[in-house]
Amino acid sequence: MITITINGKNIKLDEPMSVLKAAGKAGIKIPTLCHHDALETYGGCRLCVVEVERMPKLQNACTLIAADGMVITTESEVISKVRRGILELLLINHPLDCPYCDKAGECELQDLVDKYGPTVGRYTEIKRKVPASHKDEIFVRNMDRCVVCTRCVRMCNKVQGASAIDIIGRGNKSRMEPFSSASFNCEYCGNCLSVCPVGAILSRLYLHSFRPWQIDREVETVCSYCGVGCSVVVQVRDDSIKRVIPRFGLGLNNGLLCSRGRFGYEYINSEERLKEPLIRKNGKLEKSTWSEAIDFTAKKLTEIKNSHGGDAVAGIASPRCTNEDNYVFQKFMRMACGTNNIDSVSRMGFASAQKYLEDLLGQGVTSNMISGVKNADTILVVGGDPTAVNPILGLAVREAARNGAAVAVIGEAKGLEKFKTLKVVPPVFREAELLESLLSEVAEAKDPRNERPAVDQGISQLSGGSAGVDTGELKKILLDGKSISIILGSDLVQRANGHRALFAIAGLTYMLEARLTLLSDRPNEQGLIDMGCLPDTLPGGRPVTVHDFRDKFENEWNGTIPENEGLSLLEIIEGAENGNIKALYVMGENPAFNLPDSSSARKALESLDLLVVQDIFLTETAEIADVVFPSSGWAEKQGTYTNLERRIQLLNKAVGASSSMEDWKILKEVSIKMGYQMTYSSAEDVMDEIATVSPLYSDLTYREISAGHCLWPYHGKPLRGEINELPASAEAPEDYKEDLYLVIDKPLFHSGSLSRKSPALRKICPEPLLRIGPGHAQKLGLKDGDLVDVSTSKGGFDVTLSVDDCLGDGKVYLSNNFEDRGVLSLMGYRLDPVTKAPGIEGCAVKIQKKADSSAGSDKS
């Protein structure tokens, strides 16, 4: 126990810490400028000086470690004088342009000068002049305001791990610059901007558009982009979003955000938002009224249900919508439409993987915490790049690596290039075999567990074949691990034999007693599953085919639930194609664009008798719909999201949306018109019902969610569901012999339909890029920036080539985020017979330089 005295107050400390921290614990504030709680200690500004008895000189409170018996004074005549002196020196160069600077009102230098500073400076030197740099699309750098505290640099290097900026120059010419001295070319997380104490780094999104004290209200809510579920504060003025910021101490992201979360909010205010319901009349979508559109939808759905049966209707739910929306959606499909044909794009990764893994290892097996990843000593990343798909989770991996964890990557994870211990690249689409051979080696080295017969049996039946890659080093890393986290991305699931890779992952998890995280590129994939937006599962993960579960819900819901499992996502599309599905109800999803072989999907959707779409934009799917309802967007509604750790978090309404309606409410109105009663008057009412019927969300209330973190299963009872027999082993792997294959890219800056309507994200990354390794580019005589025609058997289009040093040969990467040029339109699929996820593999591709591309080549 260390006892120190600060300003006459005795303070007991359990562990060694800086005097600054100790004072903070005792509620004593010491002024700081270079120090920031989220960053490593620097000791550069000396504003935190304190007097320590028996030490002749003033000491930095931030770097001085408290020792037993220290007697410290934090405010005195001398200390104030020194602080005033330091500030006077800073003000030699710092321009006094507060009236014009966005930071005024929340500037730490301004506050310090207000408290300690000189009112007049004695120095007469001419201030240094560094012109403001407006060369970046997002950040404005005003380097004459920089006080060289290095907070931004420490943030970028040590927390974000991007190392994109540094202090350049020397003496009073020092200032922060990105390498190019102009544009940042970085991860655009904006975390440097958050920690800058002065107005040296500003955001162009709201430059000179408001003062911090002119904010009407601040609303705490959750980011709408990915499954991490970062807490954000939305600042509103005149009912429009001024900015979205994180807050240190708030949420699991604790002050950090990624580019999408911080700069991707503008879509909410987009001019292109749908404003009124539309109905197709004479082949054209025409403006309509809410009551007409609701009546029309209910009437048509009832007709189709009556003449073709409930199973002629299907629904696609949305991992962008809240738990409440999704709960009402599946209830509407099951009870009003009479079908279990309910699925979502989550089928293409998260939901399929989770279902299979939970069937093997029990419900909740994928609920590893982000802090668990941070504290792991060994991390295996496979099938996706956490720093791009779930950036804040990616930071946890980087932090673990910095703290000495071994990070093994199978496949590509660009954002971990500098952090990985080992990278193993299997031959194209042969991940399953690599993982299987890894599993058999690991199982051989470990004692058998004999706890889950299906897994034990599966392991014993492994063929021991290999993908032709040495797994020795991988095995060693995994066997050396004491606390192992496995992070799994959707690439692995999108294989015709995806379940085999999933089995291998399950086996590794089981043998190594590892923890599992599934990457999730939508904010509420977990919630959607928990709410039962699946063809085979009721809320709470209860199988729909089990009579007792159905019975319970039928009593609660007052009606009959169809007994048979419904169709999965791509089976629904195939159903539309062959005429078995007549009506499709789509909530917040864009299947005409987001599914593999999307042009065929689009044709299938066009052939439907009825296509109903609820969305915030006129998406590719809404364009071909018969009825379109404008729904409320993320910042316009209340509800809950369940993140990839299964943390249930509250979404709060920040701005009003006069002409739109919440998704659950639209469904409720249609349902009532179809004769199935719903009585909710708020999202909270829906949650009350969920808390009654869902065994996983028992007794959950909004009050409790907002009071703290609610981790799944909330008072609930997860199932120990188990597969007792593995499906017969799949056929031999295909031999892929083409020269070049197309694969799906998941970039950091975009997510699709929302990000492409966000001007800031479009400025950071304006167009799709076809990424290729340097070796293969050279082989094809192509260079960075070339305009190329990319084509497969499904079609083709022009796109800019980007040569990426960390990629190998044989594959090119393209995203599915931009209008008319989504990679999925070029790719076919084969369903994995077990998970029903589309196997999107083996897509041979040709790329050819466009003749006129020299103009595009020097744009880097």
Binding site: N157, S163, A164, I165, D166, I167, I168, G169, R170, E177, P178, F179, S180, K418
Partner: protein, 154 residues
């Protein structure tokens, strides 16, 4: 990118230190020798070779006066104008460089033959005025021998 020999040289430097950052300054010298100055490309090469962030390479390079951030002529003159040299006539040498070679401090002759850098003290106060041309040391300079010395550098 660097050629094989240079890459090997930098690898050799790298091998001397446990941390790549320690190899940065000597490697920047190599890059400056190869490229003549530290262009962004030169710094990128160093960053790639040492596997260090580009921004950090530039931050470090920009701190030190001996690294050049603009293209220079084939020969770089570093003339001292500190107290001893000044008293013993470095101003006159500067005038001569201006009138005879059209060379001003911080600039390069049109034919790319010389660049001139003013520097502070090369420790030759006893034999001032003094200068360095590339890495060669010359002292006891006068207007006469300055022209002569310069004639040796093409």
């Amino acid at each position: 990118m660097f050629n094989e020999t240079v890459l090997k040289e930098i690898d050799g430097i790298r091998a001397k230190y446990p941390d790549a950052r320690s190899a940065l300054l000597p490697s920047l010298y190599v890059a400056q020798r190869e490229f003549g100055w530290l262009s962004p490309e030169a710094m990128t090469c160093v960053a790639k070779t040492l596997n260090l962030p580009e921004a950090m390479v530039r931050g470090t390079a920009s701190f030190y006066a001996m690294f050049r951030h603009n293209p220079v002529g084939r020969n770089v003159i570093q003339l001292c104008t500190n107290v001893s040299c000044m008293i013993l006539g470095s101003d006159r040498l500067l005038d001569l460089l201006k009138s005879r070679f059209d060379l001003e401090p911080g600039e390069t002759t049109k034919d790319g033959r010389f660049s001139l850098v003013i520097m502070e003290c090369i420790g030759a106060c006893g034999t001032a005025p003094a200068m360095l041309v590339n890495t060669d040391f010359h002292d006891n300079l006068t207007e006469q021998n300055l022209e002569e010395i310069m004639g040796k550098y093409k």
